[in-house]
């Protein structure tokens, strides 16, 4: 579904991603783990169109999408829930969710999945998953707690009905109980057939959740394989699982 070859991304004069190869197959749950500053977020920004790659190619379902801007990629079904919340602080929770469905409301989509009722139904689904959001639907998103903002960011990314969902550090800075809820949601989304690429610093949790994993270190991929195999890998255990 997603095929990345020789991706290089330069960020403010520094090459943060130094030519990586990566494959995500349809229906898979793949994680990219690594330490702070390894280039994970930069990779995801390039894949979602927020940064232009300096070299390399990205193919999505066989189509070359290298360097396409974010707003076009969403239309193709690629959504990103960005790192550090990224909610619209002065829109209400509900308006944030509606923004997630922005592409569905486009021209010629007013029936079926783009209709007001279909979008409202998906909002309700988000509220069922995260009752906290339902309580705060008319509240400005900037007033939510970090965990609530993360719930909102993920729910919002799902509102565009993505085929490929990119998640950047969904557990960052959250209480363990909230992390549990968020990861339960991620697994549920995967069961519905959405393909996921997940970036995490919590390597254990990520590898326990995903099918396959890549390990990133200072801009390059140093290891890859089945998540279970990586969990038992000597190097990974030592460097990322603290054993």
């Amino acid at each position: 579904m997603l095929e990345v070859k020789g991706l290089r991304v330069a960020y403010g004069g520094i090459t943060a991603v130094k030519g990586i190869d990566l494959i995500v197959r349809a229906g898979e749950l793949v994680t990219l783990i690594g330490a702070n500053g390894a280039g994970k977020t930069t990779t995801l920004k390039a894949l979602s169109g927020l940064l232009r790659p300096a070299a390399g190619s990205v193919h999505y379902n066989g189509q070359d999408i290298t360097g396409k801007p974010a707003f076009e990629l969403v239309r193709l079904g690629i959504a990103l829930a960005p790192e550090g919340r990224g909610v619209f602080p002065r829109l209400t929770v509900e308006e944030n969710l509606e923004m997630g469905a922005y592409v569905r409301e486009g021209k010629g989509n007013h029936r079926d999945h783009g209709s007001k009722t279909a979008i409202a139904a998906d909002c309700e689904r988000a509220y069922t998953t995260f009752p906290r959001l339902a309580e705060r639907r008319k509240q400005l998103a900037g007033t939510l707690s970090g965990g609530e903002q993360q719930m909102l960011a993920i729910s919002r990314a799902l509102m565009c009905q993505p085929k490929l969902l990119l998640l950047d550090e969904p557990s960052m800075g959250l209480a363990p109980i909230v992390v549990q809820t968020i990861f339960a949601t991620i697994r549920a989304v995967a069961r519905e057939g959405v393909t996921l690429l997940l970036i995490e610093q919590n390597a254990r949790l990520a590898l326990q959740t995903c099918d396959r994993g890549y390990v990133m270190e200072s801009g390059t991929i140093t290891l890859s394989g089945e998540a279970k195999a990586l969990l038992n890998d000597e190097q990974v255990r030592h460097a990322y699982l603290g054993e």
Partner: protein, 306 residues
């Protein structure tokens, strides 16, 4: 007491025009962080285009029809001009340091002013009489039917704009782009188009304001956008720049302050200063706001920016 209510009425009327112009400043600032100093001059172009149409059509059509055609032409020209300025002058500088687009804006302002001087000349252009306005007197306060029309139209445009930004898809995209352009892009918003649309919308509202100024003062001039623009900018800062209801409130308040000050300054200073000092008050307000409350009356607290 009559003069008091008369000045309040004048102030609200003038303020409603300031508010419309201030919207152009505040919407662009909200979305780009850019003070588009050329906006006052776009309003001027709207006014002069409308005057040209009025003079060309003269008495060949009913006055109201001439007025509508003139306003329509002004809007078309201003929208095209606004889009062109955005595309040619500001878009190439989107990633540049903030000072560059600011200086560019001043340059564009001067360019439009002197282009207008070449096209229309430097003399005042008077408006031909199209409709004979009726005088309306309510409780000792006198206004003309034209003035009443300006006021009602200005309020309607403001209400429509608030509704549009609050409920429409484009309005939501505008607010999202303003708050976080990258994330708006992730939602599928083509932010370049939203920014262009914002310029066009500001220019269209500015064009109507320009026609109102012509109706109010009965004349236009290539330099009229300068002072009008500065006052509208002051109004936007007073309300909290970047804030749409703030620009409306700021415009109204500025109109009131100016009118009341102009009405009473002669009495207060024993005739030393006359109402020709009215322009001073707008800038006195600007200085005070910047000193005491730089974020304006309804300004955004910068703390909640992610």
């Amino acid at each position: 007491m009559d003069i008091f209510f008369q000045q309040i009425t004048n102030g609200l009327l003038l303020g409603s025009i300031y508010a419309l112009v201030a919207l152009g400043y505040t919407m662009v600032y909200g979305i780009l962080g850019l003070i588009n100093f050329a906006h006052g001059d776009i309003v001027m172009v709207g006014a002069l285009v409308a005057l040209s149409v009025m003079m060309a059509l003269g008495a060949s059509l009913p006055g109201v029809a001439v007025l509508l055609i003139a306003a329509g032409a002004a809007m078309v020209v201003c929208v095209v001009l606004g889009l062109f300025v955005e595309r040619a002058a500001y878009r190439p500088l989107r990633r540049a340091p903030r000072l560059a687009p600011l200086i560019t804006a001043i340059g564009v302002s001067i360019l439009i002013q002197y282009s207008a001087a070449l096209i229309w000349g430097k003399q005042y252009i008077s408006m031909p009489e199209l409709v004979k306005p009726a005088k309306i007197v309510i409780g000792g306060v006198q206004i003309t039917s034209t003035q009443a029309f300006i006021f009602v139209l200005a309020l309607s445009i403001m209400a429509a704009l608030l509704w549009f930004v609050k409920t429409s898809r484009m309005g939501r995209a505008m607010r999202a782009t303003e708050q976080n352009p990258d994330v708006a892009g992730l939602m599928g918003v083509d932010t370049t188009r939203v920014i262009a649309f914002t310029f066009a919308l500001g220019a269209a509202i500015g064009a109507i304001a320009g026609v109102m100024v012509v109706l109010y003062y009965g004349q236009g001039h290539y330099f009229m956008g300068f002072m009008l623009g500065l006052k509208a900018f002051t109004a936007a800062v007073l309300g909290g720049i970047g804030n749409i209801p703030g620009a409306m409130l700021g415009g109204m308040l500025l109109g009131l302050i100016e009118s009341l000050a102009a009405g009473y300054i002669g009495d207060i200073t024993g005739g030393l200063f006359g109402s020709n000092y009215r322009d001073v008050f707008a800038f006195l307000v600007l200085v005070l706001v910047l000193m005491l409350r730089p974020s304006g009356l309804m300004g955004v607290r910068s703390g909640d920016r992610a």
